[in-house]
């Protein structure tokens, strides 16, 4: 089994290094093909591991020691258990699809080889993240995906900075830096969590840490839980560290599909699921996690309602769905969170790839107000996106229905009706903005003609590559029972109470009703043509939502600008004017006293004799004083 583990893990790395060899050369199809094949290998190995875990049991391998100092001993150890196997399969599947898709999408890009190198490196980092058997190994992957995300968001680094009005993300390189730095803020929290664990447990291995949980004090567990969650908040873009995700849409669309929808952003959820023994021990923190998640769910959904940018809408929906996952994980229903994570990965990746097709067809135009009626020219894309949107909206029998519905059941079952209500409401909003997008892009009047676009369907193999995702977006939910059986081998089984069980039909109906309601509203509003009302667009709530609650501007005003100004003050006012000036001042005192005493050196012997006499007298006085004092 060791071979399989290493194959799954290192195949993407090999692909990345291979592509890197060609990184500075013009496009060679070879790199795309080789990396995609290696990803396929990794996927097959992951599936085999999934089967192995299902039928034999978890696999644990140790490659070598990494950091050994003092009592700290951190190996490169990899553990494939139920959760990891699921994550690996999801990651490698989506990655493989995205790789194949990128062969078409990046066809005309100068950085083709570079792109595949980064993309495969990302998959490797993500696999390290999910497979590691200790917290620091997870942190390697954590930072690794961060860097790859930085590289990929800033992939089109040559674009210049523009104002926020022109492009809310300013520029790819700006967005990349924002993402990296935001994640770093969270990483500090995570590091502190890791330090806390180390000094209180003495190890960072998952099994040792979780075995020690019952012996740790409550306050300590709370602290660890909170700090780890801060780390998760950064990577999963939870409020208040959420702004980078929408800006990250500056990256190529396959990147958005893979990193900023299906895999990397779910790392935070994975962390909470992975650390479930810890969070189970402190329900208070779990509840906090759930509240944050719920808040983000509706918060992000509200921003998606009015946005006109195709990718940003999907990004907000990702944010919103991450909120759902955190809500589930926080309430203790870890397998539900994982289930939604997997389902979401499939349909959200599909949605993004579909969006990529649209962009490709529309020459990188993202404004859905400039689209419309695309279903005629892009039939398959329309079908894929429709399926994905239905899944996202949680319509039976698509995957999203099963997962999201379960989350609502959990919220209801925990008697956290507030959370339930907000999530329920969000489900309606989700359905509305998803279908607002679909109707505006694919139905309604063909506005693109006014702008002189000539949309066309993408290559056939690209469409075929998307097929597995499309299929899974439909059928994944049907395997809920099997999934539960499998992952509860590791995660606690979550059973709803008798009362909730009775309520289930009503709950399902209510949820479905609001989802369908959302779709209907979208249909009514947008299916014919785009109606824009200046009055609405000028209203305060609309502007607040459209400007993302003015949070990016707020951050700029409250953090970025003052920091830059403070830095300038620190340099020019403090460092140069105070610290350095003091040093130079001391030097100047010496210099000037020397200059002053230089006059003694008149060259006149007579003067010297006078000084000498004065000195002798001074010494004599000193001698007398010394003697007189004993």
């Amino acid at each position: 089994m060791e071979g399989l583990v290493y194959t799954a893990l290192f195949a993407p790395l090999a692909g990345s290094l291979f592509a890197a060899l060609f990184g500075m050369r013009p496009k060679t199809l070879l790199t795309g093909v080789v990396t995609s094949l290696l990803l396929l290998v990794s996927f097959i190995a992951s599936t085999a591991l999934l089967w192995h875990v299902m039928h034999v049991g978890p696999v644990h391998v140790k490659l070598m020691d990494w950091i050994v100092a003092g009592d700290m001993s951190i190996p490169f150890g990899f553990n494939v258990d139920q959760v990891t196997a699921v994550m690996m399969t999801v990651v490698t599947l989506v990655s493989t699809v995205v790789h194949i898709y990128s062969n078409g999408y990046m066809e005309h890009d100068k950085g083709f080889n570079r792109f595949f190198s980064y993309l495969s490196a990302f998959v490797f980092s993500m696999l390290v993240l999910v497979m590691s058997d200790n917290f620091l190994g997870l942190f390697i992957g954590w930072e690794g995906v961060g860097v790859c995300s930085w590289l990929l968001i800033g992939f089109w680094y040559h674009k210049p900075d523009v104002t926020r009005d022109e492009n809310p993300s300013i520029s790819p390189s700006w967005a990349a830096n924002e993402a990296f730095i935001m994640n770093r803020i969270a990483d500090l929290g995570m590091l502190i969590g890791i330090f806390l664990i180390y000094w209180n447990v003495g190890s960072l291995q998952y099994d040792a840490v979780f075995a020690a949980v019952p012996h740790l004090s409550h306050a300590l567990l709370v602290a660890i839980g909170v700090f780890l969650f801060i780390g998760a908040m950064g990577k999963s873009a939870q409020f208040p560290l959420h702004t980078w995700l929408a800006d990250a849409m500056e990256g190529p669309t396959p990147v958005s599909a893979l990193i900023h929808a299906a895999t990397m952003v779910t790392a935070g959820v994975y962390l909470v699921i992975r650390a479930h023994p810890l969070y189970s021990a402190v329900p208070g923190v779990g509840y906090f996690v759930a509240v944050v998640g719920t808040f983000v769910a509706i918060f992000a959904a509200s921003m998606a309602l009015v946005n006109r940018d195709l990718k940003r809408i999907i990004a907000y929906s990702t944010l919103s769905q991450l909120g759902y996952m955190f809500a589930a994980a926080g309430l203790g229903a870890y397998w539900v969170a994982l289930f939604h994570l997997a389902a979401h990965a499939f349909f959200k990746a599909l949605l993004f790839l579909g969006a990529g097709n649209v962009m490709h067809a529309m020459h990188d135009e993202l404004d859905i107000f400039k689209m419309g009626g695309l279903k005629k020219v892009m039939k398959w894309t329309y079908i894929y996106m429709g399926v994905a949107s239905l899944a996202l909206a949680g319509i039976w029998p698509f995957a999203g229905f099963y997962s999201k519905d379960t989350i609502l059941e959990v919220a209801f079952n925990e008697h956290t009706y507030g959370i339930w209500f907000v999530l329920w409401l969000t489900a309606g909003l989700t359905a509305f903005y998803s279908f607002r997008l679909v109707f505006l892009a694919f139905w309604s009047d063909e506005r693109y003609k006014c702008y002189g676009f000539h949309p066309h369907e993408v290559q056939r193999y690209v469409l075929w590559a998307m097929f597995p995702l499309g299929l899974l977006a439909v059928i994944f939910g049907w395997y809920k029972e099997e999934f539960v059986d499998f992952v509860t081998g590791l995660l606690p089984a979550y059973e709803v109470s008798e009362h909730t069980h009775h309520m289930l039909p009503i709950l399902v109906t209510v949820t479905l009703a609001i989802a369908i309601g959302g779709i209907v509203v979208a249909y009514v509003m947008y299916h014919k043509r785009l109606k824009r009302s200046e009055k609405v667009e000028a209203s305060l709530p609309y502007r607040i939502l459209y400007n993302q609650y003015y949070i990016p501007i707020l951050y700029e005003k409250v953090f970025a600008k003052p920091y830059a100004e403070l830095s300038d003050i620190a340099w020019k006012e403090i460092d140069l004017q105070v610290v350095d000036a003091t040093v130079d001042g001391i030097a100047k005192v010496v210099e000037e006293s020397g200059d002053a005493t230089r006059r003694m050196q008149s060259g006149n012997l007579s003067d010297y004799l006078k000084w000498m006499a004065g000195g002798a007298i001074a010494l004599a006085i000193l001698a007398v004083i010394v003697v007189a004092n004993g």
Binding site: K610, G614, I617, A620, A623, V624
Partner: protein, 186 residues
């Protein structure tokens, strides 16, 4: 009698030296200096240091003063130097202060009573005899060194005074050229 002699000598010496220091005329200064030296030898005789008194007379009054007198022949003895006087206040401040300090130090009981002899005067011999005994036993090496020093000083004095009028020392040591140049000038 001794007291009287001491005070007489003291006052005279101090007065003569003051003349030396304050006089505008170099010739007066030298004369009063020589007179002061003679009186100092008187003090030595009072102290019983006969040999030292004699040496004082011979060396200072005889040799040194003669040397000065001859030296002065090279200069324009009267008023070669128009001295710009140092501010009197500074002079008397420094001079007075140093006097006060020295007096304080020397008058302090610490000095007079704490000095103990490390080399006793031989008993039963007169002073020149005793000096001879000490000088040629304990101080033999310094004595010889002093002799060499005097020889060196004599040679140095001869050479320095015998220099050509218009060439500097350093130029001579520079080598043949400057010497030749010096000769031409002459």
């Amino acid at each position: 009698m001794e007291t009287f002699a001491f005070y007489l000598f003291s006052i005279l010496i101090a007065g003569l030296f003051l003349v030396t220091v304050l006089s505008r005329n170099v010739l007066y200064a030298m004369t009063s200096l020589a007179a002061g030296m003679v009186l100092i030898s008187g003090l030595f005789f009072i102290l019983g240091a006969d040999f030292l008194g004699v040496v004082q007379l011979i060396v200072y009054v005889g040799a040194v003063m003669a040397l000065y007198a001859f030296g002065m022949m090279f200069f324009d003895a009267t008023g070669v130097v128009k001295e710009r006087n140092t501010p009197a206040l500074l002079v008397f401040l420094l001079g007075g202060l140093s006097a006060v300090m020295l007096v304080v130090i020397f008058a302090a009981p610490a000095i007079g009573s704490h000095v103990t002899p490390s080399f006793r005067t031989p008993q039963g011999v007169d002073n020149p005899h005793a000096v001879g005994l000490v000088l040629f036993t304990k101080y033999l090496v310094p004595f010889e060194v002093a002799a060499v020093m005097l020889l060196v000083a004599m040679i140095a004095g001869i050479i320095l005074a015998g220099k050509k009028m218009d060439t500097s020392l350093s130029k001579i040591s520079d080598g043949e050229e400057s010497q030749a140049a010096g000769k031409e000038e002459r």
